[in-house]
């Protein structure tokens, strides 16, 4: 939790990114996993009720905490935000980031947008799906890997671009993904 003068800490983004990967030599380097930084002890359902757009914060927080939005929480959200259950469901279904079921342990998002198409994202996607034997948006039967579409990661001069568990990767060739996928599949 970051302290700001005048008790303004609540104005900071609700989640900061922690520095967390190890490189080949074992040193810790800046990376980009999303970690809740504030209100961790608070219930995400009620923590943001008085804020502009609080439902978006709550849903982002729940998705980050649980990996999906549990349907059982919908009535609670509706009550907390004083809206109908249908409205809550409407918001959840509108945004690609909110999912109704948990994803695989690892999430591989492959950019499907034009600049990456121009440097081979279609064949990278086809290769990945064929290797795992699943369709775009699906999870492997063992629950290890989900492959999703993403539309632009802002890495359009260093495509094809991929995001693996929140980490960005550029100039990705099929051969670069193979060992990562193999490792993910081999995990216990």
């Amino acid at each position: 939790m970051i302290d700001l003068p005048g008790g303004r800490s609540h104005l900071l983004p609700k989640y900061v990114l922690e520095l967390s990967t190890k490189n080949e030599k074992g040193a810790t380097v800046a990376a980009n996993t999303v970690q809740p930084c504030s209100n961790t002890e608070d219930d995400p359902i009620t923590a943001f009720v008085s804020e502009t757009g609080g439902l978006m914060h709550a849903l982002n927080a729940l998705q980050a905490r649980d990996g999906y939005i549990d349907a059982a929480l919908v009535p609670k959200l509706a009550k907390a935000f004083n809206i109908t259950k249908a409205e809550v469901k409407g918001v959840i279904s509108f945004y690609d980031d909110f999912t109704k079921a948990p994803k695989g342990k690892h999430v591989v998002r492959i950019c499907q947008a034009e600049a990456c198409q121009a440097v081979g994202s279609r064949s990278l996607t086809a290769h990945t799906l064929e290797k795992l034997g699943i369709g775009l948006g699906d999870t492997t039967p063992d629950g290890h890997v989900t492959v999703e579409a993403v539309y632009c990661l802002g890495l359009c001069a260093t495509g094809p671009a991929v995001m693996i568990d929140g980490h960005v990767k550029g100039r990705v060739a099929p051969a670069d993904l193979d060992p990562i996928l193999d490792a993910a599949e081999a995990e216990a």
Partner: protein
């Protein structure tokens, strides 16, 4: 003590900048490693710079495997090595640019207010605190600045409207949803010089009488989120944000608001709905957001780059900015070279530079080394343009004349292996995926368009189906509430016009 500069920019991190930084830090624990933004030469990332008496010397692209040989070559003393590039500012790619907005990007520590101020930051806001709200708006009006988010609406008019509105609360909303493929200027400036955006928003607050700002950031930008959060923290500590902005007695508070993966939320009214915690459905206009925006209050919505032009306009004067560019396209634009391009990255130039200069001189042609077939300018709702048209100057009026747009300045290059019929189908697919669902021509038309295009590709009743597509495009163009449905016809039509052979038709317009 040696100082080393390595970008924290996503494009550098995506190709291994963090690992390179860690390896150098491990070998030289005494060295100060400054994580900067990117200079915008993405084919050279990760680019490592070392400080010397003659200025900085760059190396790139540096992979983890190069680090040992670089250290052996005495990187710390800027020793000779195959990857040594010399002083970055001497490289033609940077030398031929006119960098105003991106002047500091890649040079300074994005999180250091001191660095920011030493390199010309805060001049604009200091001037603004001594000016009346009307005078601030007038300066923006004089500059001729037009919105960089895509619609190119004159900024000054919007500022005057919000400034003149009477309300107990007004808002400044920064549109950082940057969803267009081929664009990354917003991301680069948010990661590389975030205080510039903060300063621009503070000035907007002073000019419009708004005390609260939101940056609506897309969730695909985790690094920008981290850097913005830390920059806002610094801005509060240094009095650029807070109850008494730069001693002016006026308040301005700023917060980052995360989106959740919806392209349509880049459309300003959809964005406002999302910011209110709702589905991102597009609102009908009027009422204009400038009068009834967020929570029904007067709201200035601007793209990141528009707001980042403001500190320069205040510091150097609106007339200085207006005198750059051509005709009614004033100032500079950060063009983004993307896709199949040899030297991809960011080129900030005054309007009027030709596509040819951008793609060939700056970009060096395709990455694959094959001939260019087309470039798509202005994102997924932009036209595909063939090389025969590359003498076109990049300005709003020239593009409007051919029914296209400069949009947010993205230029996506395709080589001769590109399947233009597949690109036309993709335009419909993207629209179908991203449509907010409010109007039928967009919601249903896009799905229909994709189906019919699939038949054209399969060679089924080509002419009949192409005529069907042309009718459909007309319906979408005329009957859509916003540019999502209304401009999806632009890329499709450009393919029918310039690449008719791709859909089994005769020769292109203009004898291509």
């Amino acid at each position: 003590m040696s100082r080393i500069f390595i970008p924290l920019d996503s494009a550098a991190v995506a190709v291994g900048a963090d690992e390179v930084a860690a390896a150098i830090a491990e070998a030289h624990p005494e060295a100060e490693i400054v994580r900067t933004g990117s200079r915008g030469m993405h084919w050279l990332e990760p680019m490592v710079e070392v400080e010397t008496a003659e200025g900085r010397v760059a190396y790139g692209p540096v992979s983890l495997a190069d680090v040992d040989s670089l250290l052996e070559a005495d990187l710390m003393a800027a020793g000779a090595h195959d990857l040594r590039l010399g002083r970055p500012e001497d490289l033609p790619f940077l030398q031929d640019q006119e960098r105003l907005t991106f002047a500091r990007c890649g040079i300074t520590d994005p999180l250091s207010v001191t660095d920011y101020e030493t390199h010309g930051g805060l001049e604009g806001v200091k001037k603004a605190t001594g000016m009346s709200a009307e005078a601030i708006c007038q300066e923006v009006m004089t500059s001729g600045l037009r919105g960089r988010g895509g619609a190119a609406f004159p900024a000054g008019i919007k500022w005057n409207t919000v400034s003149g509105a009477n309300a107990d609360q007004k808002y400044i909303v920064c549109n950082a949803d940057e969803g267009d493929s081929g664009t990354f200027a917003d991301r680069m400036i948010m990661e590389g010089d975030p205080l510039l955006l903060v300063e621009g928003m503070v000035i907007a607050g002073l000019g419009c009488g708004a005390t609260k700002g939101y940056i609506y950031l897309r969730s695909e930008y985790p690094i920008a989120k981290r850097v913005l959060g830390q920059a806002i923290e610094q801005a509060y500590k240094h009095g650029l944000l807070g109850d008494d902005v730069m001693g002016s007695g006026k308040a301005f508070h700023l917060e980052v608001f995360m989106g959740a993966g919806a392209y349509i939320c880049g459309e300003e009214t959809s964005l406002l709905e999302s910011l209110e915690g709702k589905r991102g459905q597009v609102r009908a206009k009027p009422p204009l957001p400038a009068l009834e925006g967020l929570n029904g209050k007067p709201t200035l919505v601007h793209n990141v780059i528009s707001l980042c032009a403001v500190p320069t306009i205040l510091a150097k004067g609106g007339a200085f900015y207006r005198d750059l560019g051509m005709g009614r396209s004033t100032g500079t634009m950060p063009f983004q070279l993307a896709g199949n391009i040899k030297q991809g990255g960011l080129v900030e130039k005054a309007f009027g530079v030709t596509l040819k200069a951008l793609v060939e001189d700056f970009g060096g042609g395709t990455r694959s080394g094959r001939p260019v077939k087309a470039v798509q300018v202005g994102g997924p709702l932009g036209a595909y343009i063939p090389p025969s048209r590359f003498d076109m100057p990049m300005d709003y009026e020239t593009f409007a004349k051919i029914g296209a747009g400069v949009g947010h300045g993205g230029i996506v290059v395709f080589d001769d292996t590109a399947d233009m019929a597949a690109q036309a189908k993709y335009a419909f697919d993207f629209c179908a995926h991203e449509s907010c669902g409010k109007c039928t021509p967009c919601r249903i038309g896009a799905v229909r368009g994709s189906e019919v295009m699939a038949k054209v590709i399969a060679g089924e009743n080509r002419e009949t189906n192409l005529t069907l597509i042309e009718d459909l495009l007309e319906v979408m163009e005329d009957g859509s509430l916003c540019a999502m449905g209304g401009m999806t016809p632009v890329p499709v039509k450009s393919i029918l016009d310039y690449f008719p052979e791709a859909v089994g038709r005769g020769t292109a317009k203009g004898g291509e």
